[in-house]
Amino acid sequence: MPGSLSKDAITIILVTAILTWVMPLIISTYTLTVLIVYGMLGLSLGLIWGFGGILCFGQAAFFGLGAYTYAIAAINIGESTVPMILAVLVPAVFAALLGAMMFYGRLTDVYLGVITLVVTLILFKFINSTAGPQYVIGDARLGGFNGIPGFQTLNIPGRPDDYIWGDSYFYVCAILLALVFFLVSALLRSSFGRVAVGIRENETRISLMGYDVRARKTVLFAAGAAIAGLAGALFANWSEIVTPSLFSLGQSAEIIIWCIVGGLGTRFGPVLGAAGLAYLKFLLGQQTMIDNTLITGLILVLFVLFLPRGIVPALASLWKVSFGRRPLGRIPQHRRMRNRERING
């Protein structure tokens, strides 16, 4: 990554300031809020997949876990600060355990994909079959397919009656996304982040250098889950209901699509992909001519075929070709990187 962390910080602050000023003039803040939440969710997968090479088919599991943790804790506690913290911690701990199980078992590639997918399915099926009155955590009924409505939403810490909602909730989410984006940048610039990229590039080499690849992947995986959990809690606050569809494979699929369309191996790509596609879906719901699923599918196929690196890297290299000092040299790299993700079966 070119530049430095302080430069990153300035860019992030500027971009956030401009966007939070301009965007509400175009799109309602309520819709923007969820686009931000999805952006954060996209970033969480972008971090572990784009920079750590871990293709997780179950990022939705952590998202859902964050949302449910928040909802359950909020019902039991009645004040939002501790539930918010729990919503980050619980998915992170869960991911650390799951990650340790997978990475210490040397699972990679599709096998990793299968496990994450299966774990998501298990969570989905479990939550989906908790409609009966016997499934209770404290005061919170799990509610099965119907989900959990009516929990305490975000309040000013320590003052449970002062809710943060509407426009102010939008600003809170925007600032949190900027903060997470900054933390991800800092992580990637640290030695840990650079080793993570090394692991993505060549796991064997990194372990032959003496780094414990398993532990590092586990930590990175947990960090991604923590971000997804935070996004889940923010989502719960936004929609004021959590349902098992948060855990669904469709949700996981969407997160992967966001990353592909936005661009892997970039920080901004997944955020843009998430917000852009979610808004597209929102717009498509307002027309009845063509089936929306069909359009989503077509977009994904076309991207994989014609723009496999995603929008942001494509724009970046276009910029470089047009104005940059450096010639096309770097362009084939990413493709090669993805080519290597094949099985030696």
Binding site: M209, G210, P332, R336
Partner: protein, 238 residues
Amino acid sequence: MAEVVLETHGLTMRFGGVVASNNVDFKLRARELRCLIGPNGAGKSTFFKCVTGLQTPTEGEVIMRGVETTHWMPHQIASLGVGIKTQTPNVMDSLSVFENIWLAARRFHAPRNANRKTQEIIERLALGSIARADLGQLAHGERQRVELGLVAVGDPWLVLLDEPAAGMSAEDVERMTEIIHELNKTAAIIIVEHDMQFIRSIAEMVTVFHQGKVLMEDHVDRVMSDPTVRNVYLGKKA
């Protein structure tokens, strides 16, 4: 005599019915340079993999500087100060030469020292002109050299190289030989190699593998003139 830095006792590796490595006893002393030779399938690569932790032997033990490392993972072995280079170039293609070497240096040094060490190695291996280029763009010989740089930057006391000269030009091989000799001043080195010419130019002691076993272990000249070894190499009956 110098201390023994690596020894194996009865190292055996079976894959199903095939015995790839059969009861190998091996010893290596500090700052020794040893070549492992043998025809394809003789078990030298399996031996290499068992020692570096890339595979876990079925039986037997591996001891490094008095520590048993038989069931260790590669990263644990590397952390002891063992430099390893595998058969195919194992580098990070979309990172630059500097970044590649820096990652190796960072394992043993704080960030600032890692920068300094990386610069040193780049100068020592004459990689300055390509330090900012991505590995994916480099020629084979340059990549091999960078990988040696990755190994050297950790100041290892034991270096294991699997076919370092494979597919390189004469000029590259010459440079490689220099680097190996330089490394050998502080480290014991094991080289798994096919290329007889390269072995002659670099080695003194040679261990010959055949059918998973150690066939003989002697000075390179005597090994080369040994009729059994010749037969093994030419595929005749031993």
